[in-house]
Amino acid sequence: MRRNTPLITLLTGAALGVIVLVASMLSTPSSTPVSYSAAATSSPASPAAAAPASTSAPAATPASTSAPVTEPSLAPSSPASPAVSPSAAAASAPAPVAKSPARATYAGRVGGGGGSVAVAVHGNQVVAYVCNGSTVEAWLKGTADGGRLVMTGKNRARLSAKYSSGKLTGDVVAHGTDYSFSVPVVAKPSGLYRATAVVRGATVKAGWIVLPDGTQVGSFEDNSDSTDPSAVEAPVLDVGTGTARAGDLILRATPVDGLTGSGF
C-alpha cells in the first residue's frame, strides 16, 4: 500500500492532464487550428482523404449547407483538389468557419514596397502596425468580424482588410498615404514586436515588423503620448533575445502574436 503512493501520485497527475487536455479540446472551436493553415498542410494528403470524404459526403451535406460562407473562403486554399474542400470543411468544421475566431499574424510588404504591414488577429481583437522604417508608422486597433477587419489609429490612420485562405488583403492609410497590401500568415520569429518604456517622463514606443526572409523594419517614437509624435528608424531588434539597444536604453520587445494572444 505504502509503496504504491508515488505511483498513485503519478497516475493522478496523468489523469488530471488528460482531463485538462480533453477540456481544452472541447473548448477549442472546431476549426481553430485556423482553417487556412490546416487546409494548407492537409492538402498534400488530400488524395487519400478524398475517398472517404466522398463516401461520407451525403451525410455531411447538411452541415456544409448550413455554413455556406465557409465554402468560398476555403475552396481556394486547396486548389489541387477542389472536391475535397467542402467535405473536409464539413467534416472538420461543422460550425461556420467565418464565425469562429481566427488566430494568426499576417505580415509582408505593402504594395510598391514602401514599407511593411503586420496584422495580428486574435479572435475578434486585432492589432496592426504599418511602418516604412522611419517617419511613416502607425499602430491600429480594431475588430474582426467574419473575416473582415476594420481598424483605426491615431492621426486618422485606418485599415480595412479581409482574410481568406491564409492571405490578408486590404488597404491601410497612414500619414495621408494609402497603401494596399496582400500579405500572408507568418510564423515566429517573423511577425510583429512592440516595446514601450518610460524615459524621463516621456513614453517611448517602438515597433518592428520582421518578415520571413529575416528583414525587419521598425520605428521609434521618443514621445508617443504627444499628439503628433515624431518617429525615427528603430534600432535593430535582436529577435533571439527580444531586445534592442537605443543609445543607453535597452528596449525589451514583446511579440504581438495573434496565435498566442501575446501583446494584446
Partner: protein
C-alpha cells in the same frame, strides 16, 4: 521491480540486481515521458487557446500564478527534505515532516499539470528564442525527472545519495521552468492577476 529490460528469459529473481540496475527502468520510463511530451508539443499544431480559469486576466497570468505556487511548494520540498535528512542544525525532524514533504510535493506536481497541458496544447514546443527553447526543454525534462523520482521512491537498497540527487534535479528543473516563464512574465508584464 517486475520489469527487466530485455530479460524475457527466466532468470533468478532480481536479488542480484545492484542499486544501479534498479534505476534503469525508471530512467527509461522517465526519458520516454519527456520525449513523448516534447514530440507531442512539436508535432501538434498549437491552437493558441485552451480552457481558461475565471478571475484571471489571461492564460499567461493563470499559468504564472500556478507555476509560482508550485515553485513555492518546491522550496517547501527542499526545506522539508533537509530536515528529514537531518541537515538542518539544531532542528530535529518533527513527526509530520514526512507528510508535509509528501503533500507539498503532490500539490506542487498537480499544480504544474494544467500549466504543462496548456503549454503543450496551446503553444507547443517552440524555439524562437533562447528563453523559449530552454523552457520547452526544461518543461519536458521536468516531467521525465519527476516520473523517475516517483518510480524509484519505493525501491529498497538504493545508494543514499540517489534520492536526494534526483530530487535536486527535479527541483532545479522546476525553478528553471519558473525562471524562464513566470518570472519572465511578471517582469515583462508586471505582477497582475
Amino acid at each position: 521491480m517486475t520489469a527487466h529490460p530485455g530479460a524475457s528469459a527466466p532468470l533468478p529473481p532480481a536479488r542480484a540486481a545492484s542499486g544501479a540496475a534498479k534505476l534503469v527502468v525508471p530512467c527509461l520510463i522517465g526519458a520516454l515521458v519527456a520525449l513523448t511530451l516534447g514530440i507531442y508539443g512539436r508535432l501538434h499544431h498549437p491552437t493558441g487557446i485552451a480552457i481558461n480559469i475565471a478571475g484571471f486576466s489571461s492564460p499567461g497570468s493563470v499559468k504564472s500564478w500556478l507555476a509560482t505556487g508550485a515553485a513555492v511548494l518546491a522550496l517547501v520540498q527542499v526545506g522539508s527534505a533537509l530536515v528529514m535528512y537531518g541537515k538542518v542544525p539544531r532542528v530535529t525532524a518533527p513527526s509530520w515532516i514526512g507528510d508535509l514533504h509528501k503533500w507539498s510535493g503532490r500539490i506542487a506536481f498537480l499544480l504544474t499539470v494544467p500549466v504543462a497541458i496548456h503549454c503543450l496544447y496551446a503553444l507547443g514546443f517552440q524555439h524562437y528564442s533562447t528563453r523559449v527553447l530552454l523552457h520547452s526543454l526544461f518543461g519536458c525534462a521536468f516531467f521525465g525527472a519527476f516520473t523517475v523520482k516517483m518510480l524509484i521512491l519505493p525501491k529498497q537498497g538504493l545508494r543514499g545519495w540517489v534520492l536526494p540527487l534526483v530530487g535536486a534535479v527535479v527541483f532545479a528543473l522546476l525553478i528553471a521552468i519558473w525562471l524562464t516563464s513566470a518570472y519572465w512574465f511578471f517582469s515583462t508584464f508586471g505582477i497582475k492577476r
